[in-house]
C-alpha cells in the first residue's frame, strides 16, 4: 500500500499509476483488495440478487389469489430438493447482506471504522455458523436419516 510519504517525494505525474478507463474490467479485478473492498463488492452483488428475488417472490406467491388448489400446486415445485437447496443458498445471500449491513450501521453510527476489519471477519464466522445451522434445520429430516 502507498503511504502518504510516497506522495510527498515529488513523483512526476506521468509515473503515478492512474485508473485506466479503457481497461476498467481488468483494473477492477486486479487492484489490491482489503476486507472493506470485498465487503463493498459482495454487499452490492447480494443486494442486487435480493431485490431481484423480491420480485420473484411476489410473482411466486401470486397463485394465492386463485385459491387453494392453484397455490398448493404451485408450492409443490418449490418444495422439491432442488428448490430447497436454492432456498438455502438464498439464505447465504440474506445472511451476508444482513450481517454486513449491521456492520455498515456500526461503522456509520458507532465508531466502527476503528474495528471494521474485525467486524468483517466476525460477520463471516457468525454467517457460516448460521448458514450451517439453517441447513440442519431445513434438511434435518434427511440428515438424521443418514445416521439411522
Amino acid at each position: 500500500m502507498e503511504s502518504y510519504s510516497d506522495l510527498k517525494t515529488e513523483t512526476p505525474y506521468s509515473e503515478i499509476k492512474t485508473f485506466d478507463q479503457k481497461k476498467w474490467i481488468s483494473e477492477n479485478l486486479h487492484y489490491k483488495k482489503d476486507p472493506g473492498n470485498w465487503a463493498w463488492i459482495l454487499h452490492r452483488i447480494t443486494g442486487i440478487a435480493l431485490i431481484g428475488y423480491i420480485f420473484l417472490h411476489v410473482y411466486s406467491l401470486s397463485p394465492l389469489t386463485n385459491g387453494e388448489a392453484a397455490f398448493n400446486n404451485a408450492m409443490k415445485a418449490y418444495t422439491t430438493p432442488v428448490f430447497m437447496v436454492l432456498e438455502w443458498l438464498l439464505f447465504a445471500f440474506v445472511l451476508f447482506h444482513s450481517l454486513n449491513g449491521i456492520r455498515i450501521v456500526i461503522v456509520d453510527w458507532a465508531d466502527g471504522a476503528k474495528y471494521h476489519k474485525q467486524l468483517y471477519r466476525m460477520s463471516w464466522v457468525l454467517g457460516i455458523i448460521l448458514f450451517l445451522a439453517m441447513g440442519f434445520l431445513m434438511f434435518s429430516h434427511e440428515i438424521l436419516k443418514l445416521f439411522r
Partner: protein, 126 residues
C-alpha cells in the same frame, strides 16, 4: 462559490432511511425465517397461510415488509447508479423505471394479501 447545478439534495435523508429500513428489515427477516422454516409446511400450504392471515397483524406486518423491502432494495439500486455520471434523461428514465416497478410490485403484493379471505369460525378471527 460552487452551487449545486441540478439539485440541493445531498442524499443524507436517503442515507439515514436506508440504514433505518435496513435495520427494520433485519428484524422482520428473523421473524420471517423462523415462521417459514421452523416448521416445514408453515409457509408452503394454503391452509397454513389462510390460518395465519386471519390475524390482521400478520397482514400489516407482511405489507410493511414488502413496502420496506421494495424501498430499501430499489433505493439501493439507485445508489449504485448514483456512483456513475449519468445524463439527465438516463437519470430520469432509471428513476421512473425503478419507481414504477416498485409501485407495481408493491400493489401486486398488497392485492395478493387482500385476496386472502377472512373466514368466520377459524380460530383467531380479526
Amino acid at each position: 462559490m460552487y452551487r449545486y447545478r441540478s439539485s440541493k439534495d445531498t442524499g443524507s435523508k436517503s442515507w439515514v432511511l436506508q440504514r433505518i429500513t435496513g435495520l427494520a428489515l433485519v428484524v422482520l427477516m428473523i421473524g420471517h425465517y423462523i415462521l417459514m422454516h421452523y416448521q416445514p409446511d408453515s409457509g408452503h400450504t394454503y391452509g397454513a397461510v389462510l390460518a395465519r392471515m386471519q390475524h390482521s397483524w400478520y397482514r400489516i406486518i407482511d405489507m410493511s415488509f414488502i413496502t420496506l423491502g421494495m424501498y430499501h432494495g430499489l433505493n439501493g439500486i439507485w445508489n449504485i447508479f448514483r456512483d456513475y455520471k449519468l445524463r439527465p434523461w438516463a437519470k430520469f428514465s432509471i428513476i421512473s423505471g425503478l419507481i414504477l416497478a416498485g409501485l407495481a410490485f408493491t400493489a401486486w403484493g398488497y392485492n395478493i394479501i387482500f385476496s386472502i379471505p377472512y373466514i368466520s369460525g377459524i380460530a383467531g378471527g380479526h
